[in-house]
C-alpha cells in the first residue's frame, strides 16, 4: 500500500470542499488549495461557505485546523504526495470548452510535482482530455514522465450539492489509470476514502461515462419539454397524462426551463464538439437538437406569459409579471447558465413590467442584476407564479 503523507485538494468550493471534508473524516490530512488567500483565512477560521451542504458544517468544525488546512500557496502542496484536482471547466460563447483554469492549475501542479507523487483529476472533461492535454502539461512542467516518475489518474466527481457527503459513501465512482503501476497506486489512494470504487478500461471511458449521464438528462428533459408543448397545443393536461404514462419501463421527465447550471447545458457540448471536430456531424444530431429544444424554452414561455398578461383586464404596462427563483437550484445561490435569468432578461427586453424575487438574493443584489425586486413574493402580482421547477 502507498503511504499517503497529505492529500492536496485543488479548489472548486461546491465540489472540492465536501471532498476535502470527506477525506479528513477518514483521518487523512488534507491541504485545500484556493486561489484567494482571504477566503482561505476565513475557511481556516471554520467558516462554511456552503451552508446548504448537509453535514458539512459539522465536519468542518471537527477537522479544520487539524486534518484540514486551506492555503493559496502552492509550495505548501509539497508536504503532500497526492493531488486531487476539482476545478471548473466552463464553455465559451461558441460552446467550446474553456481550458484556461484547468491549464493554469495543472501547470502549477507540474511545477511543484515531486517524484512518486500522484495526480488525480475529478473535473468533468471531454473524453481524452486527461490522457493527452493534461498529461502533456504535467510532463512538460515537471520534466518527469508519467508512470516512471509520477502517477496519473482520473475519477469524475458524481456529487450533488446538498447530498454530496452521503454520495461519497454510496454512489458508484469510476476510476482510471495509465500504467499498471499507476493503476495500483491511484486505486489504493482512492480506496482509502471511496468504498464503491470501480476500475474502467481507460481515462476516456471514465470521462465519457460522466458526460453521457448528463446527455441522458438533457435529452429526456428536452423530450418532456417537447411533449409538454404538444399537449398544450392539443389542450391536454400534460401532468395528468405523465402520471399514467410512466411505469417501470417509462420515465417521462418533467418539463421546465430549468436546464441550467454547470452540468446539463455544458457537458453535451463536449461530445457535440468532438464529433464536429471529427467531421461526424451526423453522430450528434440528437444531442444538438436536445440542446436547442431546451435553450429555446425561454422563448416559448415568454410568449405564453405575454399571452396570459394580455388576458388580464389592465393595460399591459400595469400588469406585474413576477419571475420567482433565478438561482440554479433552490437554496443554491448560483446563476451560472440560469435560464430563468435569461427569461427575465428576455421579458425585460419586451418592455414588460417585470419584477424578480429569489429568496437567496436581497433587494440590492437583484438591482445589481438589473431587475426590480418584488418583496411581496406570495401575493399581489398579476401574472402567474413563474415557479418553473
Amino acid at each position: 500500500m502507498i503511504n499517503i503523507t497529505k492529500i492536496n485538494v485543488i479548489w472548486l468550493w461546491k465540489a472540492g470542499l465536501p471532498l476535502a471534508a470527506h477525506i479528513a473524516k477518514k483521518w487523512i490530512e488534507v491541504i485545500w488549495i484556493d486561489i484567494d488567500q482571504k477566503r482561505c483565512n476565513f475557511i481556516n477560521e471554520w467558516w462554511n461557505p456552503i451552508p446548504e451542504e448537509a453535514w458539512l458544517s459539522e465536519l468542518l468544525e471537527k477537522h479544520w485546523g487539524k486534518e484540514l488546512f486551506a492555503t493559496s500557496n502552492y509550495t505548501k502542496t509539497k508536504e503532500g504526495n497526492v493531488f486531487i484536482v476539482i476545478v471548473p471547466l466552463f464553455i465559451d460563447a461558441h460552446n467550446n470548452p474553456d481550458y484556461s483554469i484547468v491549464d493554469v492549475v495543472t501547470k502549477s501542479i507540474g511545477q511543484n510535482l515531486k517524484s512518486w507523487d500522484s495526480v488525480i483529476f475529478e473535473t468533468t472533461f471531454p473524453p481524452t482530455t486527461t490522457e493527452t492535454r493534461l498529461k502533456n502539461i504535467l510532463e512538460k512542467e515537471s520534466g518527469m514522465t508519467e508512470w516512471k516518475d509520477f502517477y496519473l489518474g482520473y475519477s469524475p466527481e458524481r456529487i450533488m450539492t446538498w447530498v454530496s457527503l452521503s454520495r461519497f459513501e454510496e454512489f458508484p465512482k469510476v476510476i482510471w489509470w495509465v500504467s499498471e503501476k499507476s493503476s495500483k497506486i491511484v486505486h489504493d489512494i482512492y480506496s482509502k476514502f471511496i468504498p464503491n470504487l470501480n476500475k474502467v478500461k481507460n481515462s476516456k471511458t471514465a470521462e465519457y461515462i460522466k458526460v453521457i449521464e448528463w446527455c441522458y438528462r438533457d435529452t429526456n428533459i428536452a423530450l418532456a419539454n417537447e411533449l409538454y408543448k404538444i399537449a398544450e397545443e392539443l389542450e391536454i393536461d400534460f401532468y395528468e397524462a405523465r402520471e399514467f404514462a410512466n411505469h417501470q419501463f417509462c420515465d417521462v421527465h418533467t418539463p421546465s426551463t430549468w436546464v441550467w447550471g454547470h452540468c446539463i447545458p455544458v457537458y453535451p457540448h463536449f461530445l457535440i464538439k468532438k464529433m464536429e471536430e471529427a467531421n461526424k456531424e451526423s453522430y450528434r444530431t440528437l444531442l444538438n437538437t436536445s440542446r436547442n429544444v431546451n435553450e429555446d424554452m425561454i422563448n416559448y414561455w415568454a410568449e405564453k406569459i405575454v399571452l396570459k398578461a394580455l388576458e388580464i383586464n389592465k393595460p399591459l404596462k400595469e400588469v406585474i409579471i413576477l419571475v420567482k427563483w433565478i438561482t440554479y437550484r433552490k437554496w443554491v445561490k448560483e446563476l451560472y447558465h440560469s435560464r430563468n435569468l435569461a427569461l427575465a432578461k428576455l421579458l425585460k427586453r419586451k418592455w414588460l413590467n417585470l419584477k424578480v424575487y429569489d429568496e437567496m438574493y436581497n433587494k440590492n443584489e437583484i438591482k445589481e442584476l438589473g431587475f426590480e425586486y418584488w418583496e411581496k413574493w406570495d401575493i399581489e402580482f398579476d401574472c402567474f407564479n413563474l415557479e418553473l421547477k
Copy 2:
C-alpha cells in the same frame, strides 16, 4: 350496474385474442369477430394462433365453445351489448395514419348498433380520433346519438406479446368516457375484468398517454444509438461505459437496429403529423430527429459490416455475411417495419454474399422473402454474428 349480455371483441390476433380470453376467464361470454371465417372455424376448434403467448392455450382450451365463440358474421354481435375494438392502425408510405381498417370496422359496428350498446376502442390512436372521427362514423351509421342512445369509451391496450395476460391483471389501464352517463357505464363494464383501472379527463388524454409512452422509448433508443456511434468514433467501449453511467436517475438504453414493429416506429408519427397539420413544426423537432436517427441506423450498420468484411482475407464476394433474426422480436413471427429485414435488403443491394437465418422461418419462407437461407446458423459464416437485439 350495467347488465352485460355478451362482449364483442373485434379482432387483431395478438391483442384481441388475449383480451377475449381474459374476459372469458371472468366467466363473461365473448364473441370474437375476425374478418376470415376459415380462421374463425380453426379457432372454434381450439387452435391457438399465438402459441408464444403465455397461458393463452390453457385459457382457450378451457373457454372455447363455452364463453368464447369466433365468427366473421357481424349480425352475431347483436347478441351482445358491448363492443371492444382492437384493430391495427398502420401508417402509410408518408407516415400518415391509415384509417381504412378502423373506419370499415366502425361502420360495421354502427350498422349493427342497438340502443344502450357501448363501444370502447382499444387501438392506439392519434389524440382526438375517438371523440371526432369515430364518434361521427358511429352516429352517422347508426342514426343514433352518443350518450343519449349509446355509450362510447376509449381505453388503450398496454399489453406486451408473451405476457399480455398477466398485464391485464397488473398494469395500470386508463379509460375515458364522453358524458357522465357513458362514464359510469363504460367504467362499470371494464371494472368487471380490469382491476387497475384509472379514469382520465377525456379521450384525447388517454390517446396521448399511450402515444407518449412510445415516444419515450423511441427517443431513448435514438439517444443510445447516437451515444454508441460517438463511443465507437472515440474508441470507447459503450457497454462498459453504460454499465457505470446508469444509476437510479440515469437509464441510458441499449443501442440497436431493433426499433421496429407496430409501436415504436409508428406512434411518434401520430404526434409529429398532428403538429405539422397545426403548423407547429418546431414542436416536433426532437421526435422527428429521434425517428430519423433510429431509421438511419441500418446505414450505419451496413457500413460497419462492409468494413468488417473487407478486413477478412478473402475476396469480398466470398465472405459470407449472415443476418440472424429478422423478426419483430424473438419468438414473435412478424416482420412489420422490421429493420433487420431492411438491413438485409440494403446489404443485398450492395451485392454482398448475404444469407439470412431466423428460427421462426423455414428455408422456403426465407426464399420467398428474396434471401438465401443459411442453415448452419451457429457456425461457418465469416462476418460477425449480427444478432442486434
